[in-house]
Amino acid sequence: MRHTIAVLVENKPGVLARVASLFRRRGFNIESLTVGTTEREDLSRMTIVVEGDEKVVEQVTKQLNKLIETIKVSEISEGSVERELCLIRVHAPPEKRGEIVELTNIFRARIVDVSRDSFIIEVTGDEDKVNAFIDLMRQYGIKELARTGKVAMVRGNKK
């Protein structure tokens, strides 16, 4: 099973290496990992998707908590808003452009670059939506693809 874990850490050099080293050493598998700034300058937030059963997630959480620079670890698998951004360079010959534009609109994605025979399309959404859009684009020929990995936040008031 996959779990999303949000980790609030001090914004210092080497923290990412510590987290990555911990996952490697304890044999936890990272599915995706994003790091970014937060509302506070001195803190960064990592969103880590990890594969494993409850016991693995419990250990991941506890071990992450032990890092001196970790402020807070929360699991946010349920009731959360999850988003991912993906850029796709897709083959777009003149006769297919209409179709691609239409699909892009349906998914509320955006064409951000147009060249002679390709588009770059930006799609944002949860994982399923991004996957579905990628699948649809395959028939036209995906030349290049980049995903950010997931960021997530629990719904409702901040505790």
Binding site: V9, A17, S21, K55, Q63, N65, K66, L67, I68, T70
Partner: protein, 552 residues
Amino acid sequence: MRAADALVKALEMEGVEVVFGIPGGAIIEVYDAIYDSGIEHITTRHEQGATHAADGYARASGRVGVAFATSGPGATNTVTGITTAYMDSSPIVVFTGQVPTSMIGNDAFQEADITGITMPVTKHNYLITDPKDMLKTVKEAFHIASTGRPGPVLIDLPKDVTVADIEFEYPKKVSLPGYKPKMEGHPKQIKRAAELIMEAERPMILAGGGVIISNASKELVELAETIPAFVATTLMGKGSIPENHPLCLGFIGMHGSKYANYAVSESDLIIAVGCRFSDRTTGNLAKFAPDAKIVHIDIDPAEIGKNVRVDVPIVGDAKKVLAKLKKYVQYKQRKMWEDKVSEWRRKYPLKYNPDGFKPQYVIERACEIMPDAIVTTEVGQNQMWAAQFFKVKYPRQFITSGGLGTMGFGFPAAIGAQVAFPEKTVIDIAGDGSFFMNIQELATCVKYEIPVKVLVLNNGYLGMVRQWQELFYRERYSATCIGCEKTGFEAIARGFGAIGMTIESPSDVDDALREAKEIDAPVVIDFRVDYQANVFPMVPPGAALNEIIDEE
């Protein structure tokens, strides 16, 4: 003030009295600063020896041990010592020199990425890049190393940082928003644990190294006597209760006594304190104490539920939690259980075949002749025999590398313990294989007049591996015969300027030990023991604790 001077002053403010280390180019400023200070510096002959000595000092005294090493190879040589301290939760702070910040990453002479290398084996580590961070970092390092679940902290000091000019303002407090060890233990969980204790018919306490680290022996014994419950220890917990106490069953695990292993296996409640249920302690986990509910008291939440299922988790400091727990339990007689354990104890005592010259005999005599000595061990058969036959009386008396199992640990650790307690007798129970791994520190002992006594149980083999080859590999003794019967440890000791003895018969053991005890100088005794002696009883790898076997 020069940052190196500020560092040394900070160490003085932390109460550091002694540092173990070896100087070098990148850390030369710090050595220049310590030259005028009140801190004693002991130059070891290898940085591994320095870190083990700092570790031994810490384990014997409960204070933070400090080691210095230079950059590159000096730093990498500390890694085994740091990992040993990490695995056994020992508080040490290691300072390493580093090439100047402008050269970091350029593969400069004697550059090693020691913070990268030690990341997984330190509780925390630092590379100081701004001299202004020096004092704050030292303060944090000592705090982190010594509080919560203790552990090693490394501070890497680029040379230009140590030369820089800084204000000396030593912080009074640390600010670590992500580090707040839980000490008290949840009151509700403590009450639940007490309820389980009152319901239990066959309760056992399993005391680990955490009891010793937290100085909780008094509370442990009081709880055990109140319930009353027999106490088994882990290897690291040896000494948490005096081993002549009627409730103490000694240590459990692969080479624990039969009766202790049986008692834990058949108990209906285990109150585990400051232990981590390592594989050497539990045997086959699936068959570990099948009828027992488990109360697990530990300061590190990550240890709870890591290896065994736990019914009542209590995160907190052993000393505090045990004191509180005692208030909720009352004496309850459990006659059948007491009789059963007593019968096991009578029926299955620790024993060995006394014919010939047996290593166990040497340890039994040492225990008799130097009952108050601080005992360090190397790793392997010597370690297990020491654990079985040297009955210790007080916490921190028995110092061993339990987690990492580092051969070569015992001798430098004994140096550290002796420096912490100059008046005590300190012995290292060694094998010929392990003694060789840090034998160079004999020079340190001689130079600084550190009167450690090394009892070498010389059987000419890497004995524990040899034992496994005999039992499980059809006596194919691959690479384990190291031929130390041809090595003259007595002459080696003399060559270093220490005192050496060779003992070839059991009848000479007492005199040698008595003589060594009285000598105020380092002594190495080469005991030419039978090489066929093995460690029994033994839980074969993969077996359950109650499937423990004897020699026959």
